[in-house]
Symmetry: C2
Amino acid sequence: MRALTVLPGVPNSARLDDVSEPSTADGDVLVETLAIGICGTDREIAAGEYGRAPAGQERLIIGHESLGRILDAPRGAQLQPGDLVAGIVRRPDPVPCPACAQGEWDMCRNGLYTERGIKERNGYAAERFRIEPEFTVKIDPKLGDCGVLLEPTSIVAKAWDQIERIGARSHAWWPRNVLITGAGPIGLLAGLLAQQHGCELHILDRAEAGPKPELARKLGATYHRGKVDGVEPDLVIECTGATSVILDVVERVASDGLVCLAGLSSGGHELKFDVGKLNRRMVLENTVVFGTVNANRAHYEAAAAALARADQGWLRQLITRRVPLARWSEALERRPDDIKVVLDFAV
Amino acid sequence: MRALTVLPGVPNSARLDDVSEPSTADGDVLVETLAIGICGTDREIAAGEYGRAPAGQERLIIGHESLGRILDAPRGAQLQPGDLVAGIVRRPDPVPCPACAQGEWDMCRNGLYTERGIKERNGYAAERFRIEPEFTVKIDPKLGDCGVLLEPTSIVAKAWDQIERIGARSHAWWPRNVLITGAGPIGLLAGLLAQQHGCELHILDRAEAGPKPELARKLGATYHRGKVDGVEPDLVIECTGATSVILDVVERVASDGLVCLAGLSSGGHELKFDVGKLNRRMVLENTVVFGTVNANRAHYEAAAAALARADQGWLRQLITRRVPLARWSEALERRPDDIKVVLDFAV
């Protein structure tokens, strides 16, 4: 069968390979792949900057944002042939850390987790994959190929879970208004969850026109181009990873405010900044800044429910390019107005 | 009666004034002042950099770390003449914000609070003061003049309350090891609470010898001079406000770790650093960095209990200078080996 693989650490080594059928060692559920979403991590892996092959193998099958249809599942797993599903990305180490032992592998404390398509486990970008029932998440069939948005939505569901838990440090705190920086897939899906939580919504991006401002406005958000004026948000969900944006929002957030860092920066650039002034403000205003990564099963399930509740027309507009597997290299390119780019396995 | 006052905003305007007896408008409890602790905020106020007089008054009576003995209290207030007490510092606005309305004035969201000895309310550095029963906290008589440590201990009790609430975002998270940066009064009192919570304790300071390393070791802490090696703490309580220390600990903290910012920086100095690298680490490791300020009644009560439980000999060593009121200006000076300096009203 065909699979998209890379030689980790080697730039531009991605290719469409002919690989053997998936091993039952990966799990008892056999899935026919329908679509694989492409994100910044995949582009970093393809650039040789990230990713690790499974032990004893040279190449890594990439792909961690999955959508597939079950071909075969063990009895008693509450999974049926024909079900639309996605696979959870992270797996705890066989000797789990205290967080992983409680199913919180998104909070893994010793870094010994593996990740399908990223770290020491083959991913889902193959015509078929196998998976354990407990790492398989069902998707409402009405979502169709928007089910491929489950993994990125699980990331923002994890972020919201942390926001609610951390926000509970102060009685009666609730984010009346939310600023989301960056109208990429993570920013817009975070906006969807903010809208579903009933918050007043502001979205910042650089785009002047095109799908990003339009999708932001369709969520009921005020769209801010390039800079934000006159907003003191209770909560910021930072999805750009841009250093100047990060510093600006930590200064801007309201008293008792939360800044949730969900965007990965590349690093490597130094900036001159008054750290003392920022520290003073954070102390006097009880500010919290926190990073969030990955998602556990509860977050995937919350994400599946959020996607099922969403306006399906709006969701479909998030997928701005569908690239047939044979033309996979186009999916790894960044193009203006891209939101979510998907590798289509069904054509 | 004598009181230590300043003209807010005017450097070196502090003087010992003859003022009228405290007004019943301040509260029904009349207290004879025994001691007033001096901290960085008092020095900032004396330098004209901070502080605001009550409406309609020119001068501000300073002093917010109080210890006194009740002279008179209303019936039913569970306060008796002779009780050792301290006064809570912050008061909510008469129209409270949602946090203040729940007694969480330390989390005040609109900044309309007042603070005795700091912001728009006279402080406790007078021979007698009056206070409302609900802002009066009883102190175990065995503490003696160490009762003056209640207010700084309330600050670290608030910090620990936030640590526990925020830490609860991950199941089974608990700080096995704690790094405290700065062995001033806040750092050492934070160390006391860490010790009482059963954590492995590390304390960093610049002091080569003298009371700071000694008091750290008496708490059972590993004392680190100038830099920390080989420690990956689950929790950092940052009490220096020094920018290089702040950046170092955010990079150093363990996965799922918390950095509690409790030290006020002065600001005004720019530093070159890689914000993107720090952001990337915070995202991938689920790091939380949060500021904490002030304390509410529950924190004062937790602090009173912690002080009563502490080794009283160790506590007494925290007070390194006791300055008679008549020589008040010496109390505002910083001297090497100072930990807590106290204005003594009893002599």
